[in-house]
Symmetry: C2
Subunit: 283 residues, 2 copies
């Protein structure tokens, strides 16, 4: 299949590699910093419009909402090169609200839209083991699924367009707040003179047990804060959660305070540390 | 062995039942509301002092710090009946600070002290499957262990006296804040129009996964808030966390706010619902 791929960062590079390895014909944009190997395997084009003209399915893996908007609807953007029956798959983590608006504009051209944000990080991208949360019509989901399966393992259609992004935002709320839960608990243990490693071990069998207590709890105890997932990136996602909360008149007090703690951590120079380093914002 | 057991509530009754079933001779205090079966199997005495005189090991399972203090050091209290070489095992969930002070006073008599708070609730008590977090000297721990094994499964010595209570407080912080994490996430999912059950399912494979997302997340989705563990009791434990935070000059912003959310939930009439009903304090 002819596939366009825009966004060749830490995540995008291994992801498009899996598509090339499966024999797909790949058209690329934004090839600076990309390995020569990838440029030779795919065909680098001058702008997103040219990618959309050449490909049947256009995949985006970009940093934030404004990047996706610019690539889709800016000068020489994807929208200008799309035609009836083509499919856009946005695998970036961006605003659920913007996603619904983008999809509506793409639908006017007669093309399909799938939001398919991922979790699992660079390791998941390299191992084609990403968790993928999908928002799309059933038909568009079926079309996207064979490609998504080349990049991920745990693939769930949550619902219609935008619901994939909502699920990702919910994931980031729960992950961030569970990190804070473990951080406050282990801070109390240490200050009380109880061995945090023993406490973590004792708690792993009960209702306090979580992947975060297991993995990030151990990081906090050993103070191994190399990323991982950077506090700076997680703050972006919590910003999306609070944007949704404002738009929907929701009361999310801990998510709101988590943003403040992340601001503090970043001000303290921890922005590029793993999000488990949030524990340092408590001391 | 001659065992005293004081505190025959929802937890204490099945716990002492396991000791009786194992053939121990049991002396009881506070037998009102206790089944006739239990009163016949154990020997009911008039006050804690008499229990301490009759037994070699005295187990407490009481609601809160003042109850333990009154039973130990009040008129006709345990301290008055203790003698050199006896052992107090406090399985209540109370203040780590008070615990250290109580243990020091008991040590003056020449008796041992073990704090051994539990998690696992009424079901864990009935099935002798409690998680038990122990603070004690190694010698006292070894003496207590055979009895604890009759009541629990996952038994960990965290450290010296008080460290068991600290671990329990940490457990309650992490459990409470993880419930709030899941509550805020699922509230956003629902308000955004994404199916919370689908979102929960998609998230269970990744870093957001926890026992709380599994069990309490399902309770929130189905709105099954019959206890379980009552918000009112959990608030008591968060109070212990904040008492420790104040004494140790710790910054635990989410634990502090959790108390406020629990106050709100209890004001709204949810005090005797399961702690997963905290999600209702967000709406």
């Amino acid at each position: 299949m002819k596939i366009g791929f825009i966004g060749l960062g830490v995540m995008g590079r291994p992801m498009v590699g899996h598509l090339i390895a499966a024999g797909h014909e790949v058209f690329l944009y934004r090839v600076k910093d990309v390995s020569q190997h990838l440029v030779e395997a795919g065909k680098a084009l001058d702008n997103p419009k040219a990618v959309a003209e050449a490909a049947d399915v256009i995949i985006l893996m970009l940093p934030d909402t404004p990047d996706v908007e610019a690539v889709l609807f800016g000068d020489d953007g994807v929208a200008q090169g799309l035609a009836m029956g083509k499919l856009v798959i946005d695998m970036s983590s961006i605003s659920p609200f913007a996603t619904k608006a983008f999809a509506a504009r793409i639908a006017e051209i007669g093309a399909g839209y799938v939001d398919a944000p991922v979790s699992g990080g660079e390791v998941g991208a390299k191992n084609a083991a990403l968790t993928i949360m999908v928002g799309a019509s059933e038909g568009d989901f079926e079309r996207a699924l064979p490609l998504l399966k080349l990049m991920g393992k745990n693939i769930t259609r949550i619902g219609g367009v935008g619901d994939g992004q909502t699920a990702k935002v919910v994931n980031q709320i729960i992950v961030g707040l569970t990190i804070e839960a473990v951080a406050e608990g282990l801070t109390l243990a240490k200050a009380s003179g109880a061995d945090p490693a023993k406490v973590r071990e004792a708690l792993m069998g009960g209702f306090a047990s979580s992947r975060i207590l297991e993995v990030h709890g151990e990081r906090m105890i050993n103070e191994t804060f190399d990323p991982g997932f950077r506090i700076r990136l997680h703050r972006k996602d919590i910003g999306l959660a609070l944007e949704s909360a404002k738009a929907l008149d929701l009361y999310l007090p801990h998510a709101a305070n988590l943003q403040q703690l992340m601001n503090k951590a970043i001000a303290d120079g921890l922005g590029d540390k793993d999000h488990s380093a949030l524990i340092k914002a408590l001391s």
